[in-house]
């Protein structure tokens, strides 16, 4: 606490004991202020962490990547694609590895999903005509083999 005397600010000794009503109010409001600050910034931090851990971006990236690979591939080619990141994300969400990548030949659509429930997953269409079903083989841990 400080006082102004003759235009100068004079600091008082720190008080160990609270003996004035004003001091009690200052202490209470300071504690409340600090608690609210901590709660506010913790809330903001948790919000950002939740968003950065969101798998939506990962699903979109892999769905588009696989669709573009199919479109760019020569007929009869076999590709090995590293999808470890996807399988790890699926494992975190207890989602079966066998359902992470789904290639629908009837609709020409690649769907990538790492979490159960509606609203999750991302689909992207490829324009290449595939006479036979795109062969897909996965070890469920790190890679997927595609035969166009």
């Amino acid at each position: 606490m400080s006082k102004v005397r003759d235009g100068r600010i004079i600091m008082e000794k720190n008080k160990l004991f609270i003996n004035r009503k004003g001091d009690v109010e200052v202490l209470n409001s300071t504690i409340i202020f600090l608690i609210l600050n901590v709660l506010f910034f913790a809330g903001m931090f948790l919000f950002v962490v939740e968003k950065t851990n969101s798998h939506a971006v990962l699903e979109e990236v892999y769905a588009k990547k696989i669709a573009l690979l199919i479109d760019n591939a020569e007929k009869g080619i076999t590709m090995n694609l590293d999808v470890k990141e996807l399988y790890e994300a699926a494992k975190e969400n207890n989602y079966p590895a066998g359902q992470v990548i789904n290639i629908n030949n009837e609709e020409n659509k690649v769907t990538v999903k790492v979490k159960e429930g509606t609203g999750y997953g991302h689909s992207y269409k490829y324009y290449t005509k595939t006479e036979e079903k795109i062969f897909q083989e996965a070890d469920g841990k790190s890679y997927i083999k595609l035969k166009i």
Binding site: G22, S29, S54, K125, Y126
Partner: protein, 165 residues
């Protein structure tokens, strides 16, 4: 610092709430905008489609120079079927365009012209989004190749492919 009637410093004021609100709005908006931004691959898709079309339209002559495949010049030539593309995606949805024309160098005479898919993209929209200013408009890729048919003047093949998926 604002003081109350007893002279105690008031730390919790309406200004604090306003400042917290402003910080919260900034962080939430920034995070949502950053993480909801679509990954735009329209340009890559158009370029891949263009490459695919070139691969199926062109062959090499005995001297190793590019020439157009003879069947391309047929009236009934179906570019979608010949280039192994899915008709329901290219034509049905309206998110793609494939346009090609072959002209003779010098006379500028058009030998062949094909447009399939969303023609509006080719005529109008492709030109409005050349630098990718809008993420909602299609991105188009242009390619031009010189052809060297035997005993004929040089020809130019121009291909424009566009995607708006």
């Amino acid at each position: 610092m604002i003081k109350n009637k007893r002279g105690a410093e008031e730390i919790l004021t309406v200004w604090n709430v306003i400042i917290w609100t402003m910080i919260a709005i900034t962080i939430v908006t920034g995070t949502l905008v950053f993480y909801s931004a679509e990954i735009n691959v329209k340009m890559y898709e158009s370029e891949i489609l263009g490459e695919k079309i070139i691969r199926c339209l062109i062959t090499n002559n005995d001297n190793g120079l590019p020439i157009i495949k003879p069947e391309v010049l047929n009236e009934e030539y179906d570019i979608i079927e010949a280039c192994n593309l899915e008709r329901k995606i290219i034509v049905g949805v309206g998110n793609y365009v494939i346009a090609m024309n072959i002209t003779e160098e010098g006379t500028k005479e058009e030998i062949k012209r094909i447009i399939v898919g969303n023609e509006v993209y080719y005529e109008v929209t492709c030109n409005l989004n050349k630098e990718g200013e809008s993420k909602d408009k299609p991105r188009c890729a242009d390619r031009s190749i010189n052809l060297y048919p035997e005993n004929k003047p040089k020809q130019i093949l121009r291909i424009t492919t566009g995607s708006n998926q």
